[in-house]
Subunit: 333 residues, 2 copies
């Protein structure tokens, strides 16, 4: 099967929203009146962003999910995406699974595949997403990193740390029961982009980012862009790891006393979570709760924006917590 | 140097056109009133799209050029692009050269780098370009592949075949004097996207495509999309190879009689030319000439659109020419 048959078989579908989709030199998209275009690109490389053990279907999901997560962090409504794919060889089973997972998530978000490229080479997946952000009274409703104010609450959506737990099991550094591993592995391999929450937070959140490299590292981008600092409650943060909930933690073989530090490390610096970290004025707590309810997404208040630069970790009793929490860097970890 | 320093050092520049550029979750672009957005992605892999011998500066140029060529084939005005880059390691000299060549071409076309991704992995360059296409009286001015009509002239811009000649020299299949090689090599490593010509042809050309895989193969996409066929004059085509001009051919050691067939093969199926192939009504020859003059681009009339499917090659005397001209396929060649 050649390049053009491959595209036709697995990736070409009837055009819906776009003026022109896959199959010409360019795709054509009609801008939505009263909006700006939000654009983001993410490239996924084996061993860096996914393991060779991942199923093609989950990988297809994840490749788009990490891009939709960027749109979510911007408060954008997904519209379309391009896919550039380098494959070592044409593998029909792999392509069928990959395109199934990819297009299922695309359909769930009304985000249309409008073009791209396929070539032979070491496996590499590059997706560029396009979304709409409303402009109201001349002001963009995009959620930026630069808007956090001293006194704002700091929130995080969903759970943190489970993807890292799964990675540690894969690496042989951690052992857990199969059911716990499957739960964590699903979070690593098939993350949920918080698209509805991002849109619901337009006009409410003062700043937002998605957690890809690790909570502290990504929060730091917000703090630097906003020229502020933060205090984080580690007792709340430690509980953000999903597999810690209920009796799972003990049944998974974790000693609640011994393993708190490990859990905290996975939560604060695990990476690959694709949750939203955002800030909002303390006066807007009801609105944040409404946005969370409206988007059926749990959000947790984990700290406060302060004037002093940097991040201070404190437990529930106000006692300083120290530790080494290196954030994920695709050239350094 | 980590990922964020790398971006800041080599790729982050003050935002000009875009509302928001490199450094947030998404870039923001304000659509131009009365236009549609043209979008295209191209991925470049070493050994497939460039050789390891290419200078980083020329590679930076080429990576954007092949994408701008898609906008040109659509008649779009370049606006912005994203760059996703997988690098085996952070190499300052390579990055300095690559970004220099990339951004010089971007500046020449007013096409702004607004975002992207960098990661560690086998060298892979993925660019997505965005351009504007005017909509006039509700009709998109985009040049599509599907508009060729029986009786239309077929044109090609610039020269064809020189990139392939250079590749054959690199492969050791051909020997030419150094000056000829340098001329051909420049065409292979630093192609000129025909952006101004594409824009000038809006409202004149009935169909267009850029030549990346090879003239015949790419023309065939136009013919299939338009449900027509074509006749090509091989005497004219043979002369499209630039290094054939004047006395160069003989001085390069080519025997005019013996090597015509080889030249024709490079012209018709060489690939990597990034010229425009387009069709226009015979009544519009003056308008085509004006568009060519206005964009300072040579165009050559090489054939005619016919009703019968497929491509017929004929010499200047109307005699049928046969030969095997496989087009480049990134999974088959």
């Amino acid at each position: 099967m050649g390049e053009f048959d491959l595209i036709a078989t697995y990736f070409k579908r009837p055009v819906r929203q776009a003026v022109l989709g896959v199959g010409d030199d360019c795709a054509l998209l009609q801008p939505t009146p009263g909006t700006q275009l939000a654009i983001s690109s993410d490239m996924l490389v084996e061993g860096r962003h996914f393991l060779s053990t991942v199923s093609p279907e989950r990988l297809g999901h994840k490749a788009l999910a990490v891009n939709l997560s960027d749109l979510a962090a911007c408060g954008a409504t997904p519209r379309a995406f391009t896919l550039a794919l380098a494959l070592p060889r044409v593998d029909a089973a792999w392509l069928a699974g990959f395109s199934k997972g990819l297009l299922a998530l695309a359909d769930a978000h009304g985000c249309e595949l409008i073009g791209g490229d396929t070539t032979q080479g070491p496996l590499n997946i590059c997706i560029t997403v396009l979304g709409d952000v409303p402009v109201m009274n001349g002001k963009s409703q995009a959620l930026l990193r630069s808007g956090a104010q001293v006194g704002d609450d700091i929130y995080v959506s969903g759970n943190l740390g489970d993807a890292r737990l799964a990675l540690e099991v894969f690496r042989g550094h951690q052992q857990v029961p199969a059911s716990v591993f499957e739960q964590a592995r699903l979070r690593m391999e098939q993350p949920t982009p918080r698209v509805a929450l991002g849109q619901a937070l337009r006009g409410i959140a003062s700043a937002a980012i998605d957690v890809s490299d690790g909570f502290l590292g990504d929060l730091l981008h917000v703090l630097q862009a906003s020229q502020v600092g933060a205090r984080i409650d580690t007792d709340i943060a430690t509980n953000l790891i999903a597999v810690r909930a209920g009796s799972t933690w003990a049944s998974a073989g974790f000693d609640p006393k011994m393993d708190d530090a490990r859990a905290l490390r996975w939560v604060l610096a695990g990476g690959d979570d694709y949750e939203l970290v955002f800030t909002a004025a303390a006066a807007d707590r009801d609105q944040v709760a409404q946005a969370a309810a409206q988007s059926a997404t749990v959000v947790t208040r984990v700290g406060t924006i302060e004037a002093a630069p940097g991040i201070r970790l404190m437990d529930g009793h106000g006692k300083s917590v120290s530790g080494h929490f290196p954030s994920f860097d695709h050239f350094q970890s």
